[in-house]
Symmetry: C2
Subunit: 249 residues, 2 copies
DNA sequence: TACCACCATATTGCATTCAATTTTGGCAGA
DNA sequence: TCTGCCAAAATTGAATGCAATATGGTGGTA
């Protein structure tokens, strides 16, 4: 008398987790679905502006429509999808303007994080970030973009964590999720010259953090994100123009 | 065979809107319920940490549990309520720590708004804010706290709007909603000395805005909110100690 | 041939229903 | 009287069903 019978594997592609997670009778199916659906969308499995077919996803996840619809409402409030009355959900496609806005908000949040971090960070955390910084510098010298980016993300994450503000951390994660789709493609957009510039900015960031100059760190972090914004927008408009004609509403 | 029979008015208090809104067959019932429920909670109709009784609210709003539960999920993602598995929703009671964090995030967002406003604000908008500023100063001189506060909120709102960033505007509104309950009670917490201090800060804010000194404005706005934070926390701990013993989980 | 009206189908929104977990009340035993 | 346990009631989580709206296709007319 299992409550959820995983949908017939022969009829529709069932994601592996649908079966694998049967073991962990944790808390709520809703949260599970929410996280899975968010990942599914963020990872780009549905084209920009494409419909999010309720019934199909239900079959895929092996659940009924109720928890899926709840998850969709939450994702809509997070800004990942648009919910048209009586016309279903569509994955929200970010206009260039929204992308700019998101980067600016991320910049503001990181700036805030830096300011707060200067108040609260422990010396050994600074040491850890210094270590990461030099590790990243190594990747820069070896022109290892992948490694560079991994450490880069980690440093920013460490700064946000050092703010000791879990509310900020959650908001940051939320906004980061919204641009993650873009970031995937923009990761390797960095022109060489921008790369060096970013590296220099990171040195200033580290310096300000060492001196615990909150206001200064706030400024440089915002500017750092602004420059990321510019690079991402440039990359996006280039690839957009090359690849995808505007999707009809 | 009407699908929804509005609950018997004699049995439970039905909010007036439940009947009044029958006329405007607008879009989704869900959004309507979401907004109404959010207001209902924000306005403090449910005690801090108290249970949010699904069935009772359904009766009150005259709907079934499905849309209400959807709304609850969204409110949970907004941080207004906690959702305990199999144990229903409780209005999230803000710890002092969370309150501090929220004020800091608000400060960060306002600081960001100020920075962006300096880039984008039109001259006539500055003139308008100046006008509001002097109007507020009048209320200050006449010791009219209510009027002062109204204009104060308006000025901050105008700055956020001048950022020309609707994403930021939405995030700001979200966080503002979370502390609105507190603000209601903290509105009149301002000590006289703090009041003068706030007024001086506002003059610096206006000055930085006039000179479009973004980084400077960002700093002062954050500090301004920090001072508000301190005042609110002081007020809250005072009244908390006086009025309410800690609510058991 | 192009355009519009109309009908069949699919999809969505919400209510209802059912299973499962928690909570409560009571009872027995210490 | 207090404690532990068990059963009944209440409440939640998820599935299903039904009405309303959108979608897509067909036929008729200009």
């Amino acid at each position: 008398m299992k409550p959820v019978i995983p949908s017939d594997p022969t009829s529709l592609p069932v994601l592996p987790e649908a079966v694998a997670d049967a073991g962990r009778e944790e808390s709520s199916l809703h949260d599970e679905i929410l996280a899975r659906l968010r990942d599914y969308i963020v990872e780009g499995n549905i084209p920009d502006g494409g419909r999010v077919p309720e019934r199909q996803l239900c079959a895929m996840f092996g659940i009924s429509r109720t928890p899926l619809r709840e998850a969709l409402k939450v994702l809509a409030s997070e800004g990942l999808v648009d919910l048209l009355p009586n016309r279903g959900a569509r994955v929200r496609q970010l206009s260039e303007r929204e992308l700019r806005e998101l980067f600016d908000v991320m910049g503001g949040l990181e700036g805030l994080a830096g300011r707060l971090a200067c108040e609260n960070i422990a010396d050994e955390e600074i040491t850890e970030i210094e270590r990461l910084h030099y590790e990243m510098y190594g990747f820069y010298l070896h022109r290892d973009m992948h490694g560079y980016f991994r450490i880069n993300q980690l440093i920013h994450q460490k700064i946000v964590e050092a703010s000791r503000n879990v509310t900020l951390l959650a908001a940051y994660a939320n906004f980061a999720g919204r641009i993650r789709r873009i970031r995937y493609s923009a990761n390797f957009a960095r022109k060489r010259e921008r790369w060096g510039e970013a590296m220099r900015e990171h040195e200033i960031i580290l310096d300000a953090l060492r001196r615990r100059a909150g206001s200064e760190l706030s400024d440089i972090l915002f500017l750092h994100l602004r420059n990321k914004q510019t690079a991402a927008i440039e990359h996006l408009t280039e690839t957009d123009a090359a690849l995808s004609p505007p999707v009809p509403a």
